[in-house]
């Protein structure tokens, strides 16, 4: 008989996620994914100035900071027909690339690695052998026996203190950990190095947007000005700073991230056959090279792959009200015309109706509503979004760098293309994407320099800045790709104010509950068939869930009456 296990909280993600899974004979036969936190930002936006929306929506997520700001300024620009200057497009692209590199590296080392790397095993590693392995896979200079023995000593002192901090109660020694101690030690070393490195690349956001997390954006362009003969604007010192950071980032990704990925993956090739999930993949694409209106110019192409058929790329139209719809059959919301039909985001509604169990609870009532996430569908089909979807679409469309790198990775792992449709494939796609983005970022930098050299210093188009220039009514959609997948904002502007604002975000696609037809979304589907060696230590579940890089704060919508009381905790 099936046994229900609950994993809540799923840690090492953004936000609050709960997984309930039915296990029979050591395998998952059914699964339920539930977002357990809501804030109601869409309702808060109503009636506000559309030019302010980026700041509100940017606060939807601090992990993939900037992506909501970008989707937001784009939806307003789309509604008001504003074309931004080429320099602003390049600045946005550079910020986009900086985020991808930081976010993917942090995901690999700090959110995902502990699913594969056994920290305690690293204590048993031979520093000399570790050094030999490290030097055989990469020219990265921090690889001497002394370096690894110093780190091991530090780790030993830490463990012997008895205060294991974030490593306490991990699944150490679990049979699903397969790496030799030496590779575990390399993993721990790079966990710490990546933690130190990631704070560097985001300095690009500080230069171009004033701060990170949550840099500043602007409807019509970018707020930072170019003036190569001025101390208070982007001049050669600021530009050289960006270039240096981009070069260092490329070095880190090429010499640390990618070699580690390729060193770890061969021990986990069984995960190329686990965690496949839904078989449809959606990418809105991004990184325009000829203005955002020219979709064919995107470095990350737009399109949909159905049934894993890489020969056909299906077009997507986010303004077609018959294509993308959100359902609430299993979500804690009400629609004014009933729970069955879906709604296109321009007509979206966000009315709370919590019908879950009263906390504290042990299990959700999964036969009715069980999540704060709505359930988006494209023509009634469940879609996976994220690096795997983007790389598959780019691969299918024949992007040279993506094809070359993907084939090289598959060759190294001696795996067919079909291996990509898996937990391991998702994790590999993220690495491949980081490597190509590191290259593209340097191209964008060169283009920015070329523009400035040609005398173009424009950074913002302010022609339609004043609300007096706007039509009485307008609607727009802003698309982008968050590191964890396709992201879109839909806006309706009336009388110079926001009339409706809806977000459909990556983790809503991936982590949503079942739809009206009972179809599972990506998280739930990907868990079916996953082996679980020890239900008390559900390492395998978090491996697959982490491979999606969930981000829950984005994924929820809500409205309710304001409460009135203030509750005092008596602490003495």
């Amino acid at each position: 008989m099936a046994k229900r296990i609950v994993v809540d909280p799923i840690t090492r993600i953004e936000g609050h996620l709960r997984i309930e899974a039915e296990i029979e004979n050591g395998k998952i036969i059914d699964a339920y994914s539930s977002g357990t936190m809501v804030r109601g930002i869409e309702l808060i936006l109503q009636g506000r100035d559309p030019r302010d929306a980026w700041a509100f929506t940017e606060r939807v997520c601090g992990v993939c900071t900037t992506v909501h700001a970008l989707a937001s300024v784009r939806c307003v620009e789309n509604a008001l027909d504003i074309k931004i200057p080429p320099n602003a497009e390049l600045v946005r692209n550079l910020m986009f690339c900086a985020l991808y590199m930081q976010d993917h590296v942090v995901h690999f080392y700090h959110l995902h690695a502990l699913d594969w790397v056994d920290v305690v095993s690293a204590l048993k590693a031979d520093p000399k052998a570790t050094s030999e392995i490290a030097q055989s896979i990469s020219p990265w200079p921090k690889s001497s026996p002394k370096y690894f023995s110093g780190l091991q000593k530090r780790l030993t002192t830490f463990v012997e203190s008895g205060q294991l901090g974030i490593f306490a109660n991990g699944y150490w020694g679990h049979p699903a950990y397969k790496l030799p101690p030496e590779i575990n030690l390399i993993g721990v070393a790079h966990y710490l190095e990546a933690l130190e490195w990631q704070k560097e690349i985001v300095k690009i956001h500080a230069i171009l947007g004033g701060k990170n997390p949550h840099p500043n954006y602007l409807v019509g362009g970018a707020p930072v000005s170019i003036n190569i003969n001025e101390a208070n604007a982007l001049n050669m010192e600021r530009l050289a700073y960006i270039q240096q950071l981009l070069q260092n980032a490329k070095t880190f990704i090429d010499q640390v991230y990618i070699p580690d990925l390729l060193a770890v993956a061969p021990y986990y090739l069984d995960w190329a056959g686990i965690g496949g999930g839904v078989s449809n993949y959606l990418s809105y694409g991004d990184l325009p090279t000829n203005g955002y209106a020219d979709i064919s110019s995107f470095k990350l192409p737009r399109g949909i792959i159905l049934n894993r058929d890489l020969k056909n790329i299906v077009e997507i139209d986010p303004t077609d009200e018959e294509e993308i719809k959100e359902y609430i059959t299993h979500s804690y919301y009400d629609y004014s015309d009933g729970d069955k039909a879906g709604k296109h985001p321009w007509k979206g509604e966000t009315n709370l109706n919590y019908t879950g169990p009263k906390p504290p609870y042990d299990q959700l009532n999964v036969s009715s509503k069980y999540s704060w996430l709505k359930t988006p569908r494209w023509k009634n089909k469940a879609m996976e979004v994220g690096p795997l979807s983007r790389m598959l679409v780019a691969y299918a469309k024949g992007d040279e760098q993506v094809v070359e790198l993907t084939n090289a990775v598959l060759k190294k792992l001696n795996a067919p293309v079909g291996a990509l449709f898996s937990t391991l494939g998702r994790t590999a796609a993220r690495g491949i994407e980081s490597a190509v983005v590191a290259n593209w970022a340097l191209e964008f930098y060169d283009q920015l320099i070329a523009n400035i050299k040609n005398g173009d210093s424009r950074m913002a188009n302010m022609e339609k800045w004043e609300p007096e220039t706007w039509p009485a009514e307008a609607k727009g959609v802003g698309l982008t790709e968050a590191p964890r997948g396709a992201l879109a904002h839909w806006i309706v502007i009336k009388d110079k104010k926001i009339d409706n604002y809806q977000l459909v975000v990556p983790t809503t696609w991936n982590g949503s509950p079942r739809d009206a037809d009972g179809q599972r979304s990506a998280f739930e589907e990907s868990l079916i068939g996953t082996p679980v060696a020890d239900p008390e230590q559900p390492l395998e579940i978090i491996r697959t869930i982490h491979s999606f890089d969930p981000c829950l704060a984005c994924a929820v919508h809500l409205y309710d009456e304001k409460g009135t009381y203030v509750h005092k905790v008596e602490t003495f």
């Binding site: 609050h16 930002i41 700090h110 004033g210 208070n232 809500l558």
Partner: protein, 376 residues
């Protein structure tokens, strides 16, 4: 990477004593404490390993920007903080275990270090509908928070969410998002606002507690004076432009390219207390104004209610150089005791006429447009 902070043994060794001397010292200490000879080993171990400050970090309604900011700290770097200075026993963002094992980490620390651990809270706590808007492990955030707060030595409220409620508490506050300080009485609370707070300000707050053995001196709103005692406007490098009446009129205009003051395109620096212009962001690289955008006021209470962000402030509450013409005499009187600000006031008086004209026009506009919006 820097070395971890020295243990008692390392310190003794550093002073030239031998291991034998150290063990004798431990035996003497054990005897002094009345321990059996078997207790010597424990003393040796304790002196070799020194307890790190246990920290529980809860996540409520938030976007994780505070955790992201925290890991950006440059001095010290975050790896050193979590390996050498604190024992970060529970944080959903970084901890290895999930589910029951994660909850075990939380409960172990609450039990073992009752009254000794620091509770950090990122995010607000929703009270609407009995707290169902944020659940962790089947409990409401309120239940988890109550339990963790009761045994904490002190509480750090990270960011604008935990301090003031931030974006989810903006009108109409759909989930009744509530702050730490509204829920707790009888515990020291350190408010570290900002969306997010500056990385080094977060690290600095923790290090202050560890280094000086007490919480930093706080202002009337519970914020460390070390980081929140100065207005961005008063510490801004573009301030001379304000005093000279040189303003950006619209983004990317000629004045923007010269780095003039952003006051007229909505900068909230004059009403915002934070260290942005002093410590700057991401290890001193820049801050919003330096990169061409006005301050949003993200470390202030209810800053979301003070939009639209690009409409400039009509007047500043409290004492300030931008007090309206009628008040400026009073302000000057008060300012003589404040030194540096008084100077700023007097330099600005020369430009007062032009500025006031602008200010008055926009104030009337604001009143016309906003109506009763601020009362929400």
């Amino acid at each position: 990477m820097t070395e971890h902070s020295p243990t008692m043994w390392e310190e003794i060794k550093g002073q030239g004593y031998s291991r034998r001397d150290f063990l004798k010292f431990c035996a003497w200490t054990a005897a002094f404490l009345g321990l059996e000879s078997s207790g010597i080993g424990k003393v040796v171990h304790a002196m070799e390993t020194k307890t790190r400050l246990p920290v529980i970090w809860l996540h409520g309604q938030e976007c994780t920007c505070c955790s992201e900011s925290f890991i950006r700290t440059s001095h010290p770097i975050v790896g050193d903080i979590i390996l050498d200075h604190i024992s970060l026993d529970y944080t959903e963002t970084l901890m290895a275990p999930s589910g029951h094992q994660a909850e075990k980490s939380l409960h172990d620390t609450m039990k073992k270090y009752k009254g000794e651990y620091i509770l950090c809270v990122e995010g607000s706590i929703p009270l609407g509908d009995d707290g169902v808007y944020c659940c962790i492990g089947g409990k409401t955030m309120l239940q988890v928070f109550e339990e963790a707060a009761s045994g904490a030595k002190a509480i750090i409220a990270w960011g604008n969410c935990a301090t003031y409620g931030c974006v989810q508490s903006a009108k109409p506050n759909p989930t009744d998002a509530t702050t730490v300080q509204k829920l707790v009485s009888g515990k020291p609370i350190i408010n570290v606002p900002g969306c997010p707070p500056i990385a080094e300000v977060m690290a600095g707050t923790i290090l202050h507690v560890l280094t000086f053995g007490r919480i930093p001196e706080l202002d009337g709103q519970g914020r460390p004076k070390a980081f929140y005692s100065r207005r961005v406007h008063d510490t801004c490098y573009r301030r001379p432009n304000y005093d000279a009446g040189l303003f950006v009129e619209t983004f990317d205009d000629e004045n923007a390219k010269k780095g003039y003051c952003l006051y007229k395109v909505g900068c909230r620096g004059p009403v915002t207390y934070n260290a942005c212009a002093i410590n700057k962001w991401n290890n001193g690289v820049s801050y919003p104004i330096q990169s061409g955008h006005g301050c949003l006021g993200c470390s202030e209470n209810d800053f979301w209610a003070h939009g639209p962000f690009y409409k400039h402030l009509a007047s500043f509450p409290g004492f300030g150089i931008e007090t309206t013409a009628d008040d400026i005499g009073i302000a000057l009187g008060a300012a003589t005791a404040v030194g540096i600000t008084a100077h700023a006031v007097s330099t600005n008086i020369k430009k007062r006429k032009e500025i006031n004209k602008e200010v008055e026009i926009s104030r009337i506009k604001n009143i016309e447009k906003e109506g009763g919006e601020k009362n929400g």
